[in-house]
C-alpha cells in the first residue's frame, strides 16, 4: 500500500504502527506531529490500580446469548481463545479483556453505523472476561462479517474483533483488533497495513481444530503478547497476599 507514513511511533517501530498513516484518512488530523517525550517508567505506571471488576460474569463472555433476549445470535458460532502473556512469556492473569464486533452480517449495534446490513436482535456484539491463572481467555461468539466504511471508494473492513486489554501495569495497556486468516480484504485494509509488515500476522488468529467443538462451534486461537514490564514485585506480593 503506497501512502505517507509518519515517523512518530510509540514503542518498538518494527511492531507498532506509526500515528500518521495517510491511507487511513482519520490519522491525518489526529496523529501527533511533535516528537514523543521519552521518560522513564515510574511507580505511577508500574503499580496496580484497583479495578472494580466484580461485575464481570461468565455470561459476559458468551456473545451468542448475552443480549438478554433469551434468543441466540445468528451466524457461524466460534470460540476465540488464547493466552495473554508479557514479552518474556510469563502469563498475565487478572487482565480485563473487553471485545466488541459487528454481527454476522457486518453490522454494529451503534447509532453511527447506518449501512443497510441487517441487525440481529439477539446480538449486541460486546463481551468481556478476566484472564485466568495462566493468562487464558475464552469467548463464544459468532464470526463477524465484513462491512463498508467511508475511508475510500468501495472500502470494506475485513472481519475483525476489537480487543481491549487492561493489564495490572498501566504501561502494558493495549487496544487492538484480531483478524481471520482466510480473508481477501486483509491486503486491502489500511488499518491492518499500518502495522509494519513483519508484525501484521500477529493480529491474525489461527484456526485450531483442537478448540473446535463437535456439532457446536469452530475454534480460533489468538495469543496476545503485551509490551512493557509487568507490575512491580511489591504489588505482586500484595496481590498474592490478598
Amino acid at each position: 500500500m503506497i501512502t505517507t507514513i509518519g515517523e512518530i511511533v510509540r514503542g518498538d517501530a518494527t511492531v507498532f504502527p506509526p500515528y500518521l498513516y495517510a491511507a487511513y484518512r482519520s490519522t491525518v488530523r489526529r496523529a501527533p506531529r511533535l516528537p514523543l517525550v521519552e521518560v522513564p517508567l515510574t511507580a505511577s505506571e508500574l503499580t496496580r490500580s484497583r479495578l472494580d471488576v466484580s461485575r464481570v460474569t461468565d455470561e459476559d463472555a458468551d456473545l451468542t446469548r448475552n443480549a438478554g433476549t433469551g434468543g441466540e445470535a445468528l451466524g457461524q458460532r466460534i470460540i476465540v481463545t488464547g493466552r495473554v502473556m508479557d514479552e518474556h512469556g510469563l502469563p498475565v492473569p487478572g487482565a480485563l479483556l473487553e471485545v466488541w464486533q459487528a454481527n454476522a452480517a457486518g453490522r454494529y449495534v451503534h447509532k453511527r453505523d447506518d449501512w443497510p446490513g441487517p441487525l440481529d436482535p439477539n446480538f449486541l456484539g460486546i463481551g468481556r472476561c478476566l484472564t485466568a491463572a495462566a493468562g487464558e481467555y475464552r469467548f463464544l461468539t459468532v464470526r463477524p462479517g465484513a462491512y463498508p466504511w467511508g475511508n475510500h471508494e468501495n472500502a470494506w473492513r475485513p472481519a475483525h474483533i476489537h480487543f481491549s486489554v487492561l493489564a495490572p501495569s498501566w504501561s502494558q495497556r493495549l487496544v487492538t483488533q484480531m483478524y481471520f486468516p482466510d480473508d481477501p480484504l486483509l491486503a486491502l485494509d489500511p488499518i491492518l497495513n499500518a502495522v509494519p509488515e513483519g508484525a501484521r500476522s500477529r493480529l491474525v488468529a489461527m484456526y485450531a481444530h483442537d478448540v473446535t467443538e463437535p456439532h457446536w462451534a469452530l475454534g480460533w486461537r489468538w495469543d496476545i503478547v503485551l509490551a512493557g514490564p509487568r507490575a512491580t514485585a511489591f504489588e505482586a506480593r500484595e496481590q498474592s497476599a490478598a
Binding site: 511492531v15 482519520s26 488530523r29 490500580s49
Partner: protein
C-alpha cells in the same frame, strides 16, 4: 529483550461506546481513601482545532481507574480524589499527577500523557516534567478554575496535533 513477538496496536475505531463505556466502567476513580475530591473538565481537539467527538480518556492513579468518552463537542469531565505524591527514585518524589491515556478513531496507538496541577507548589520541580522541553510543559498542567465551586475545578485540554500539541510520552523501560 523480548522473547515473544509483541502484539501490535490498532485504533479503537468509532464503534467502541457500548463496550468500553458500559455504565459500570465510566465512574470516576474510587474515592474510598478519604481524600479531597477534584473535578477536571476539558476537550479533545484535532489538528484543525475541531472537536474529537469519538475519543476515550482513561485516568489511572493510586485511587483507581476511570474511563470517560467525549461528547459531540469533544468535551469530557470527571471527578476523582486529589492524587498524592508518588515516589520517583529513592528519596525523591513526583508532583501529584493523573496518568492519562487517549484513544480515538484515527489513533493507531493510544497516547500517554499526564495531568499536573498549576496550584501545586511541587509541580515546577517534578522530575518527569523537567524532562519535557520548557516551552511545552504548560500543555501538561491543568489550570485551576477561579470560580467558587465546592469541588476544585481544573481545566485540561488534549490537543492531538498542532502548535499547542499536548506532550505525549514514550516510556523507557528500566534497564534489565
Amino acid at each position: 529483550m523480548s522473547v515473544l513477538p509483541v502484539t501490535p496496536s490498532q485504533t479503537v475505531g468509532p464503534f467502541f461506546h457500548d463496550c468500553l463505556l458500559r455504565e459500570d466502567r465510566c465512574e470516576g476513580p474510587a474515592s474510598d481513601d478519604g481524600g479531597a475530591q477534584i473535578r477536571v473538565e476539558g476537550r479533545v481537539i484535532d489538528g484543525d482545532g475541531a472537536a474529537v467527538p469519538d475519543a476515550v480518556i482513561e485516568v489511572w492513579h493510586a485511587a483507581g481507574f476511570a474511563r470517560i468518552g467525549t461528547d459531540a463537542e469533544g468535551r469530557f469531565s470527571f471527578s476523582t480524589t486529589r492524587p498524592k505524591r508518588v515516589e520517583f527514585e529513592r528519596g525523591t518524589m513526583q508532583a501529584p499527577h493523573l496518568s492519562i491515556a487517549v484513544f480515538a478513531r484515527g489513533l493507531m496507538n493510544h497516547l500517554f500523557t499526564r495531568i499536573y496541577f498549576d496550584d501545586d507548589p511541587s509541580t515546577e520541580s517534578d522530575p518527569i516534567l523537567r524532562l519535557v522541553p520548557e516551552v511545552r510543559r504548560t500543555t501538561l498542567i491543568a489550570t485551576r478554575d477561579p470560580g467558587e465551586s465546592l469541588t476544585p475545578l481544573y481545566r485540561f485540554d488534549v490537543v492531538l496535533q498542532g502548535v499547542s500539541e499536548t506532550v505525549f510520552f514514550d516510556f523507557r523501560s528500566p534497564a534489565s
